[in-house]
Symmetry: C2
Subunit: 253 residues, 2 copies
DNA sequence: TCAATAGTGTCTTTCAGACAGTATATA
DNA sequence: TATATACTGTCTGAAAGACACTATTGA
């Protein structure tokens, strides 16, 4: 039944909305828990990696899972409703990576709400997709610390590393979104350093899409982005080998 | 804090997952209400329409809103967790349109979870996008019945018809998704009849995108879809004017 | 001067947009 | 036979894939 009457376990009528809200008391109909789960990606040595944490307790004890946590809904009353969904995602991202807020790309992915996906109680999970630049990667605890968190190649996850809950499904959706979006958006620029060479950007595309790109054709595509003002030259030069490569930066506006 | 330890308001340790779950009791941490809201579109006389219902009670009494309702989470225990999120969307769609399940296109759109979006209590809304074929349109109560539900042109909604809650934002996102997806998916076929002429399909594209398409170029595009086997000829002919137009059908597989 | 990587040019196909013309059926 | 609508063809430009060549710099 739709909420056409505005009743949320309380009877009508009230003349004004103020009066209604003042008298309103939330019902005790069962409510689900709502979590935010994160598919955090980075690129490390030409490989697309996802951040996983090992579960210390039941259920799925010992299994690897996407990081996440509960959304703070405050007291749930009209006044104190807690944090925004997106705020929760930012907070979790910050907690998991130790990176300053706003340093990573973050977008909502999909909401997973099958009954029984968590054996404890009804949990609806709003999944987010996050991208960490290689330069920031070393700042994350997960980088070196071989504790209960780590970056995993997608091939590892696919081959014999089962994930907790429906996280394999969430991860798949995140990869699909990333792969699809890289073609028609500027999302790739959130997976390279602030300044980058043509080759570096190409390697991001290759890692994300899981295929190679023709070097020459990619140069042309790159130059078109320069012509369009999406990318600008920066004075810097990269000197990894004999000849030095020019550096570029993404121009957000 | 992420749910790395598996604790959901209950202390460790348990040797087996079975033992843990048997002893598990859900906590009384505040939980949000979760609703499913629907942006249901159809095309009527070359115009993209959305289904709105008028709110009979507070808050936003008298305002128009997207149809929706609460997700049934059962008792919230391990055993009885209620209906899947998608199931809730199907149920709402069925209730709102009176159309048989499976007769409409349905996909998850986005989850809206800003604190304060509902003045009563914390409500997280999982929005869905639904499409109703013109042929089915007349079967919906909203068609003729000038009661508390009706199909509205987007221009009407934009110009001086304020929506309740953050539904204007939801609607905008739905329109954007529809507009974007029509170019690279087969979503348009869910807005025409089972059989259709070239012109009819073009009019769907025009209504969705809010622009005109060159007739001849569209024919070419149409024929490519025929060549690719996406569309097949059906014996039927449409006889709206002097010359009869050929009819086609979408070939899902 | 050689080896290794940076960067450029051409051919072809595919598809979209602009535009002009032919075919068919009813009145 | 006239007219309204169904349907077809050509030119052009943007962009992607395949492939061969030139330029720069350190060792």
């Amino acid at each position: 039944m739709p909420d056409v009457t505005g009743k949320l376990g309380h009877d009508q009528p009230f003349d004004t909305e103020e009066a209604f809200l003042a008298a309103y008391r939330a019902t005790n109909y069962p409510r689900p828990s709502v979590t935010v789960d994160l598919a955090i990606f980075t690129i490390f040595r030409g490989d697309l990696k996802v951040l996983l944490i090992q579960r210390g307790g039941h259920p799925y004890r010992g299994a690897w899972a996407l990081p996440g946590g509960f959304v703070d809904v405050g007291e749930g009353t009209g006044k104190d409703q807690g944090e925004d969904l997106e705020e929760a995602a930012h907070r979790e991202l910050e907690e998991e990576t130790n990176l300053p807020r706003g340093s990573c790309y973050l977008e909502q992915l999909y909401t997973f709400g099958k009954a029984g996906r968590d054996p404890r109680t009804r949990v609806i999970s709003v999944a987010y997709l996050a991208l960490v630049r290689p330069a920031l990667q070393e700042l994350t605890v997960a980088g070196d610390d071989a504790s209960d968190a780590g970056w995993f190649s997608l091939s590892e996850v696919g081959a014999g590393l089962p994930l907790a809950f429906d996280h394999a499904q969430i991860l798949q959706k995140a990869v699909d979104r990333l792969r699809g979006k890289v073609d028609y958006s500027t999302i790739a620029f959130d997976l390279v350093g602030e300044s980058f060479t043509v080759k570096e950007l190409r390697q991001v595309y290759e890692a994300v899409k899981g295929r190679t790109y023709d070097e020459k054709n990619f140069y042309r595509r790159f130059r078109r982005m320069c012509d369009d003002g999406i990318i600008v030259r920066v004075p810097e030069k990269r000197t990894t080998s004999t000849r030095h490569a020019a550096c570029y930066a993404f121009k957000s506006r």
